[in-house]
């Protein structure tokens, strides 16, 4: 991306100070969000989310695996992010790896809860087939197709939509197997389990520009940021994870203020997102 001139940076910062951004939005307004589900039929679940010119695809693949020794009664979930070169020439080769790693770590922190599995957006116990022996491994892959700022919120929304679209095959365990042997399983082609995604949080990123902070920053606004705080909030209003980016320090009272504002903004975002997901699912079924 070509750098901005001094006049442009002053224009952006001045606009934010006056609560009027370059595209006419207020400080706490999101760009139009559109959701499309079932875009990758070969996966168990997939979704595509567009926020303005930012375009991301998320997919969920389920495979049978072995539970972790630490939590034999829970399935496993992993999140990976890939930055496609189509989004930015700078992502060519390994250019996007650093950003992809940062995004996937932030998403894991915001969506998967702690190491114990508590606070995860999905009930991991529902992924168990045979305790200690067989469980579902969920692989959540995010792909950045077009990048115009605020990738974290878009990826969080896409993952929530992809989980809503996910169907896990029902598994029958063969009866009469001895306790020591590896159980035989029959994966159904007809029956699928759907996730309850009401507990999956959304991510709200507040970007500090000048003396104010904004939501849903474009890439131009992000180039002017001193720091950014991403807060994931679920429908119950609980904070599920916080990530701060950018090296400039923030006053603790400002951070608390940001968290409270994020909680307020997330209510509209969750409602908007849930209605978009519902209409996308309905459209896919027709």
């Amino acid at each position: 991306m070509v750098g901005l001139s001094l006049g442009e940076t002053h224009f952006i910062q001045g606009g934010i100070a006056q609560d009027l951004r370059c595209d006419g939005r207020k400080r706490l307004t999101y760009r139009p969000i559109s959701v499309e589900t079932g875009v990758i039929p070969q996966t168990n679940g997939s979704a595509r989310v567009r926020m303005g010119a930012t375009d991301v695809i998320a997919s969920v693949k389920a495979e049978l695996g072995k539970p972790s020794l630490l939590q034999p009664d829970k399935g496993k979930v992993s999140i990976y992010v890939d930055c496609s070169s189509t989004a930015e020439p700078a992502f060519e080769g390994r250019g996007g790896d650093e950003l992809a790693a940062e995004l996937s770590n932030a998403l894991q922190r915001c969506l998967l809860g702690g190491k114990s599995g508590a606070g995860a957006g999905i009930d991991l116990s529902s992924l168990i087939v045979v305790e200690g022996k067989i469980c579902w491994d969920l692989y959540i892959d995010g792909l950045v197709v077009s990048s115009d700022g605020n990738l974290l919120d878009a990826l969080g929304a896409a993952i929530k939509a992809a989980l809503s679209n996910t169907g896990i095959p029902r598994v029958q365990v063969a009866a009469g197997t001895s306790n020591d042997e590896h159980p035989e399983v029959d994966v159904s082609d007809e029956e699928f389990l759907q996730f309850d995604t009401s507990r999956v949080p959304v991510i709200v990123t507040l970007t500090k520009v000048g003396r104010h902070y904004i939501v849903d920053a474009t890439s131009e606004e992000e180039s002017q940021m001193s720091s950014a705080v991403s807060i994931s909030v679920n429908r119950q209003g609980h904070i599920c994870g916080i990530t701060k980016r950018g090296g400039v320090g923030l006053d603790p009272s400002i951070i608390l203020d940001m968290i409270s504002v994020a909680k307020h903004v997330s209510e509209q975002l969750i409602n908007k997102l849930d209605s978009e997901i519902a209409s996308a699912e309905a459209e896919e079924e027709s």
Binding site: Q42, D55, K61, S85, T86
Partner: protein
């Protein structure tokens, strides 16, 4: 295993000379100079073009014509079995080179000296015929970017199974171990710019299979021309001409 039934139907219900359903969409990546999504059946590819722009690496600059670069990558979720596919592995390097050579043959590079054209191709879903879909997507993206080209490049694959030439193989047919011919042509100039084949094939049957692939390429060219024409009409309407 039987890939063509006695009634002449394939596993997915197609006739031997029938193509999968093709779909194309222009302008999928708004920040790119040109972009397109191309679908052949369940194979789905997105391509973006950046340029012509200043050469990023000075020693690669060519004083008489444009430098064309290409990068091909597959999403982790794009195949039936999920696996991590790093960029730069041997297969993606080879396909990147194939796409670059094919595109270089049709771009009028001498009109853009000392510049660089980047083509990025991302596979979203793979179900056979991936490199053909990539070349078709790149052609659409270049046209969307307004890069001057001699002709559209279109590509199609063909194979030979159960003593029958087959057009536009899907993944199951591709994995059957029979011969696989991938062909890229400039349809109006009637020149072949890409030809790849694996496995064994008698030369007279090769001619038949190649001819079948050429027919497929021309059908794709007609479709791509329609898409571009429709896109131009939309632009014209919006400009109010």
């Amino acid at each position: 295993m039987e890939y063509v039934s006695p009634e002449g139907l394939r596993l997915d219900g197609r006739r031997p000379m029938e193509m999968r359903q093709i779909r194309a969409e222009i302008g999928a990546v708004s920040k790119a100079d040109g972009s397109a999504i191309f679908e052949m059946g369940n194979t789905k590819v997105i391509a973006a073009v950046y340029g012509p722009r200043e050469v990023q690496n000075r020693n690669q600059q060519i004083s008489s014509h444009a430098l064309v670069r290409c990068e091909y990558s597959m999403a982790n979720f794009s195949t039936g079995d999920r696996m991590r596919k790093p960029k730069g592995d041997r297969r993606s390097t080879e396909i990147s080179l194939v796409i670059r050579q094919t595109m270089e043959a049709c771009i009028l590079t001498h009109l853009l000296p000392r510049s660089q054209i980047d083509i990025y191709v991302q596979v979203l879903q793979a179900d056979g015929g991936t490199r053909s879909a990539c070349i078709n997507a790149a052609t659409l993206a270049l046209a969307d970017a307004g890069i001057p080209m001699r002709d559209l490049v279109t590509s199609c694959s063909a194979g030979y199974l159960n003593s029958t030439p087959l057009l536009d193989l899907n993944y199951v047919e591709d994995s059957a171990g029979g011969p696989d011919v991938t062909l890229g042509i400039l349809p109006k100039l009637d020149k072949v710019t890409l030809l790849q084949m694996d496995s064994k094939l008698p030369i007279d049957i090769l001619e038949n299979v190649m001819q079948l692939a050429i027919e497929g390429c021309k059908a794709i060219a007609n479709y791509i021309r329609e898409v571009l024409l429709e896109n131009t009409k939309q632009l014209e309407y919006r400009r109010g001409v």
